[in-house]
């Protein structure tokens, strides 16, 4: 049985995570060989997942760690702290 595009889209996240069963993965791979739309959807999703994980996208505020550890020192140095 050949699976359709909609069926492939339901599994894109799991496919990217390598969390689909071998049989389903083989069916999806077969579909991708001939479907340029699903290939582009998959490639773009994977690309976006990689880009958003980059440290340059979400940065903690400058000086966050220094201020935090100074606060921890204050707490630790309190009598009974």
């Amino acid at each position: 049985m050949r699976i359709d595009c909609k069926h492939v889209w339901e599994h894109i996240s799991a496919y990217v995570e390598n969390d689909v069963k071998a049989e389903l993965r083989a069916e999806i791979d077969r579909h991708l060989e001939t479907c340029e739309i699903c290939s582009a959807v998959l490639d773009s999703t994977r690309n976006i997942v990689i880009l958003i994980a980059d440290d340059r996208v979400f940065e903690i505020p400058a000086g966050f760690s220094e201020r935090l550890h100074a606060r921890i020192d204050e707490e630790i140095e309190q009598p009974g702290g």
Binding site: K6, E10, V41, S44, I52, A53, P61, L68
Partner: protein, 210 residues
């Protein structure tokens, strides 16, 4: 024999409680980014999230004796962060509709079809040197409903595994997978058309690199 992460954490905590207080800096350091992002996801304000992160970490220090070694330290720490964030939302009285947890009815509805493309040229990570691209990505994530946003922050940005993400948010692993899928589809649909232009330009016939 090498100790597991949990054994190291338990050892640190025992020593901190016995008086080696400075070790708390090392115990908390690997968790501080995740704590900030959990709070940022809830509060959506950098100053407020930083303040809440400091409060959370002081509470963690004060309550260290209550930590039971049956969960990972980070998971426990993140649940304290989440409670701190939710308490602040209640206090400022702007607990938004989409902050209600969990929105199970939402699992059945919504359109999760991707943006239809016929080809995709890979955007390399170096393209993030362009501040504009990073800003578009950030805006798309911040615009997600909270139940999807916090999954993306923990799983895709903090790179926590499915089990740890589920434990930190108090939901099942299958709910994490469903929401992660929907979040990624929403991001693909929103972002793919917007960021296509950041792919490196193709060179001509003799240019080599495409």
């Amino acid at each position: 024999m090498t100790s597991t992460k949990t054994e190291i954490e338990v050892d640190y905590i025992r020593r901190i409680l016995a008086g080696e207080k400075q070790l708390f800096h090392d115990l908390i350091r690997p968790c501080e980014r995740a704590i900030f992002f959990v709070l940022m996801s809830l509060l959506r304000n950098e100053t407020e999230a930083e303040d809440a992160a400091q409060e959370t970490i002081i509470k963690i220090y004060q309550n260290l004796g209550k930590f039971r070694g049956d969960a990972q330290f980070r998971t426990w720490a993140l649940s304290i962060a989440r409670n701190e964030g939710l308490a602040r939302l209640r206090k400022i009285g702007n607990r938004r509709e989409d902050s209600l947890e969990p929105l199970d009815t939402d699992e059945q509805t919504g359109d999760y079809t991707p943006a239809i493309l016929t080809n995709w040229r890979e955007i390399p990570a170096e393209a993030l040197e362009q501040k504009e691209l990073a800003a578009i990505l950030r805006k798309a994530i911040e615009g997600l409903p909270e139940i999807y946003r916090n999954i993306v922050l923990l799983r895709d940005i903090e790179e926590m595994d499915i089990r740890e993400t589920a434990a930190a948010l108090g939901i099942s692993e299958s709910a994490v997978k469903v929401r992660l899928h929907r979040a990624r589809m929403l991001l693909q649909r929103n972002l793919a058309p917007q960021i296509k232009a950041f792919a490196p330009k193709r060179r001509g016939w003799f240019g080599g690199r495409i």
